[in-house]
């Protein structure tokens, strides 16, 4: 009797336990949504617990420009084709190893067919953005400290503090900064800081149809970015400048600057 009861209790517990595990695993990701709709405060964001980077898989990119478009919408980047937080470049290398690069309108509306299709040795797209350097020259030169590296590794600009001297724009080797024509302050990619601190992905990553961009923790062992770094050969842009970028490219051609 006692044994029977024990067994029944055991079975009940197993069923309950596994049910709750299933329930939790289904509802867990939805929790943030539920909390948001309830108006309940999500756990405060702790920058010291994160260290962000982005992987860019060149051989995945189809040059659709959705990332650059989404970025402009998400971050109120002026629509004019002279201001970009992220853009896409097309490299075309011909038989004489002559390199042609273009990025019409930052690639937002895709790319026109190449002038001649003959004699193209290889061609590929390269999405570009702020490299969130670990050793950022822009942060070094800012006279008032308005641009800084956050504890989670993201390079940010305090636009209410920026004096608009543009020294940071000169110091960035990647052309990733511009002076916001309305705010008169330096502007650049923030990895969509307003999103990632809520557990969401940057807009460009969210919309990419080919998963070219992999966002995540650069130090976390279980992150997709870490997995990418483990499986693929990783290169960064202009490594000779010792800026230590945290935007990591796979299959990056030596011609890309």
């Amino acid at each position: 009797m006692g044994d029977k009861l024990k067994r029944r209790e055991f079975v009940r517990k197993v069923v309950e336990g596994s049910a709750s595990v299933v329930l939790l695993s289904v509802c867990g990701p939805m929790r943030s949504l539920v909390q948001a709709s309830d108006g309940e405060e999500p756990a405060a964001y702790d920058a010291t617990k994160h260290y962000y980077g982005m992987g860019v898989q060149i051989d995945h990119c189809i040059g659709c420009g959705k990332c650059a478009d989404a970025c402009k919408s998400e971050n109120n980047v002026p629509r004019e084709p002279y201001f970009f937080r992220t853009w896409v470049e097309r490299y075309t290398i011909d038989g004489d190893r002559e390199v042609h690069v273009d990025s019409p309108g930052g690639g937002i509306h895709g790319f026109p067919p190449p002038a001649t299709e003959e004699d193209i040795m290889r061609s590929f797209f390269v999405p570009k953005l702020c490299n969130h350097c670990d050793h950022p020259p822009c942060v070094q030169v800012c006279p008032v400290g308005a641009t800084f590296k956050s504890q989670d590794g993201v390079v940010l600009v305090d636009q209410d503090y920026c004096v608009g001297c543009r020294y940071c724009i000169q110091a960035c080797p990647y052309g990733a900064r511009y002076l916001h024509p309305e705010k008169k302050a330096a502007d650049k990619c923030t990895f969509c800081y307003h999103r990632i601190t809520k557990g969401m992905l940057p807009a460009c990553v969210e919309v990419c149809p080919t998963q070219t961009r992999v966002f995540g923790e650069i130090k976390g062992r279980s992150s997709p970015l870490y997995r990418l770094m483990k499986m693929e050969e990783i290169q960064v842009l202009k490594p000779e400048l010792n800026t230590e970028p945290k935007v990591l490219y796979t299959k990056l051609d030596g011609e890309v600057r």
Partner: protein, 404 residues
């Protein structure tokens, strides 16, 4: 704003090769060209003044006070184009209040204040103090009060006091020479330390800045000394002009050697950037670099100065040669600043293309504003010499311009 976008749109047609999309807007305009030009004149004029005081070059006595006042006039204007260029000029004080210790630019305020307050103003004050006391004693009313106030209400013109003034001037000049080097070498460092830009990133840039500063400063004093003498109806002293021409020639040769070294070094090392930089020099900078800076602004005045200085020409002709050389040198040095500041932004950091700079006439960063900043120092100088006449022959009399 719409007009600004239209300008940027028009520039796209002038791009050759590939540039990063954010690079179509050139960030540092003609105002930033003027800034090193003005500080260069300050440093150069001051170094010339120190030659007389510290190295006892007696021939330069007539230009000593002139040079100090020229330096002050240009120093007062030097930060103005910077201020006008800022996106948020109202926040510029933050550079003093919360400077970023790692930023070369953040040090500007401190270098500037050190130089203005501790070197230039102090030296001028000690040098003019006895005169100001004397002028105050001879004058009446408001003018008396002005000179008393300028002399900070000191009245002692005993021999001991004047000896102390001389000693102070000597000491300040000793500190002033390295300070002038720092002032302008530092401006060069702002550019030279940008590793992202191969046109700027060179350890020689601060040194080249310094020597070109000395060249431009001496040339400016030649011009101002000559013109002010003419206006005052006096013959400029020929031994003074000859000495100025000699120093100008030496400085010009040094400056040109250093710039050639920089050029040859880049060419010989032939780094990744050499292709785009060669293209830059051959196309966008051909007029301002090859013609204006090197040919008309350096080599021609160098030959003219050497000829004028070491030939047996009549003094009148020599004077004209010196003055024309000095004008050419100003054009050359302004072109140098242009080629560094604007030239450094005309190629893409992708090293695959060139962009263009369109100088506007009006507007905050237009040509008219720029010319205003270039004229302003002369107006300030004019006021300064009315209050503190630097002329040797008028030392004893009360400045006439201030007579009621």
């Amino acid at each position: 704003m719409e007009a600004h976008f239209a300008e940027l749109g028009a520039l796209i047609s002038q791009v050759s090769g590939f540039i990063y999309p954010n690079e179509i807007e050139l960030q540092w305009s003609i105002l930033i060209v003027i800034y090193p030009y003005l500080t260069g004149l300050v440093a150069g004029a001051f170094i010339l003044a120190s030659l007389e005081k510290v190295f006892n070059v007696k021939e330069l006595q007539p230009t000593y006070r002139l040079a100090l006042l020229v330096a002050l006039a240009f120093l007062i204007v030097a930060p103005m184009p910077l201020q006008a260029h800022l996106g948020h000029p109202e926040r510029s004080l933050e550079m003093f209040l919360t400077p970023n210790g790692n930023s070369a630019m953040a040090m500007f305020g401190f270098v500037y204040m050190w130089y203005l307050m501790l070197v230039l103003l102090l030296e001028i004050w000690f040098d003019f103090r006895a005169d100001m006391v004397r002028w105050a004693n001879e004058a009446r009313g408001l003018k008396r009060f002005l000179y008393r106030a300028l002399a900070l209400f000191s009245t002692d013109i005993s021999e001991e006091a004047i000896a102390f003034d001389h000693k102070a001037v000597y000491t300040i000049t000793l500190i002033g020479i390295p300070s002038a080097f720092i002032l302008h070498g530092y401006v060069g460092f702002i550019f030279g330390s940008i590793k992202a830009n191969p046109w700027w990133s060179s350890v020689l840039i601060p040194i080249v800045f310094l020597f070109s500063a000395i060249v431009s400063g001496i040339a400016m004093i030649v011009l101002i000394y000559y013109i002010s003498s003419l206006i005052r109806g006096q013959q400029p002293k020929m031994d003074c002009l000859n000495k100025l021409a000699s120093f100008l020639l030496y400085a010009l040769i040094l400056d040109f050697s250093l710039e050639s070294l920089d050029f040859i070094h880049r060419l010989y090392e032939s780094e990744e950037s050499i292709h785009i930089l060669s293209e830059l020099i051959a196309s966008r900078l051909f007029l301002s670099l090859t013609i204006l800076q090197i040919s008309i602004g350096t080599i021609l005045p160098m030959l003219m100065l050497a000829f004028g200085r070491y030939s047996r020409l009549p003094s009148e002709l020599k004077r004209i040669i010196y003055v024309i050389s000095a004008v050419l040198i100003q054009i050359g040095i302004f072109s140098t600043r242009w080629n560094i500041v604007i030239g450094g932004q005309l190629f893409s950091k992708s090293l695959r293309g060139l962009t263009a700079y369109k100088l506007e006439m009006g507007g905050q960063e237009g040509l008219i504003t720029a010319i205003g900043f270039l004229i302003l120092p002369f107006l300030i100088f004019f006021v300064l010499i009315k209050i503190l006449p630097p002329w040797e022959d008028e030392k004893e009399t009360v400045p006439a311009a201030l007579e009621a």
